[in-house]
Amino acid sequence: MRQGLSMREVIAAPLPGLDLRQQYGHHQSPAIRAGGLIFCSGMLPVDPETGERRHGTLTSEAHVILGNLKLLLESAGSSLNRLVQVHALIYDSIEYDVLNRVYRQYVANGPPSRTVWTAQIEAGFKIQLDVIAAA
C-alpha cells in the first residue's frame, strides 16, 4: 500500500553517536522522510557509536561523514546510491580537489547533483554534508 504522502516520518539514529540531539543538544532529528524523499540533517564527522568528534584532515573527516550517511540512509531503507542533492560544506575552497577524491569513492554509481559551499562549520570541522536522498 502506498504510504500517505502527507506523512512526515522521523528517521531515528541507527547508532547512539548519530543522535546529535542527545549528544550535543542540537534540536534536530537525524533525518525526516516525507513525500518519497529523505531530508538529512547536516552530517558531521562524529564517531557513530560514541558521538565523539573526529577532527582530522578533510579526507579523514569526509570518510567518517560518508560512513555515517551510509549507516543512516541504509537504516531508513535508502542508500548513498539514491542521493539526489548534496551540499558539500567545506571550510576552504582550496580543498575542493581533496573533497572530490574522497567523495568520488562513495558516489561512483550514479552521483547526485551537488553544490559546494565554502562555509564556517561547527566545531571547526573541515567538512559537513547536507543531503537529500530518495527514500
Binding site: R33, G36, L37, V84, S93, V107, P112, W117
Partner: protein, 135 residues
C-alpha cells in the same frame, strides 16, 4: 511500504554546459526524482564557448540564469516551475544588482529564495542552484 521514486540524471542539450562531464566531476548537472528536479550549482559559463564568463555581476547572473533556463528546459521543465533557489555571491555587496537581474527571470510569483555570500572558486561572482517541479 514507501513507494520508491525513480531517480535519473538529466543533461543539458548544450554539451558545453555539462561541467560535470567536461571536468570528470563526481556529480551530474541535475537529477530528476519523482516530480522534482534538483540542479547542481551553476556558475557563469559562456554557452557558446564553454569558457568561464566573468565581468560585471549583472552579466554573470544573467548568464547563469540563462544557462539554468536551458538546463531546466533540457529536462522538460522551465523557470516558472522552479520552487527554490539558492544564490551564493562572492561579494555580498552585489545583492542589489543580482536582485535586479534575477527579477527579469522570475517576474511573477517567484520561487522561494535564499541569498548570501561565500568564497567562490575560479573568480566566479555567483553560483546559483535550484529545485524545480518536473514538466
Amino acid at each position: 511500504m514507501t513507494e520508491k521514486l525513480p531517480r535519473a540524471a538529466i543533461t543539458p542539450k548544450n554539451p558545453l554546459l555539462n561541467a560535470s562531464r567536461a571536468g570528470n566531476l563526481p556529480h551530474v548537472p541535475g537529477i530528476r526524482v519523482g516530480n522534482y528536479i534538483f540542479l547542481s550549482g551553476m556558475v557563469p559559463v559562456d554557452p557558446q564557448t564553454g569558457e568561464r564568463s566573468h565581468g560585471p555581476i549583472a552579466e554573470q547572473v544573467r548568464t547563469t540564469l540563462s544557462n539554468m533556463e536551458h538546463m531546466l528546459e533540457s529536462a522538460g521543465s522551465s523557470l516558472d516551475r522552479v520552487v527554490r533557489v539558492h544564490v551564493v555571491l562572492a561579494d555580498i555587496s552585489h545583492m542589489a544588482e543580482m536582485d535586479q537581474v534575477y527579477r527579469e527571470f522570475f517576474p511573477i510569483d517567484p520561487p522561494a529564495r535564499t541569498a548570501w555570500s561565500m568564497q567562490l572558486r575560479f573568480g566566479n561572482g555567483c553560483e546559483i542552484e535550484c529545485v524545480a517541479l518536473a514538466g
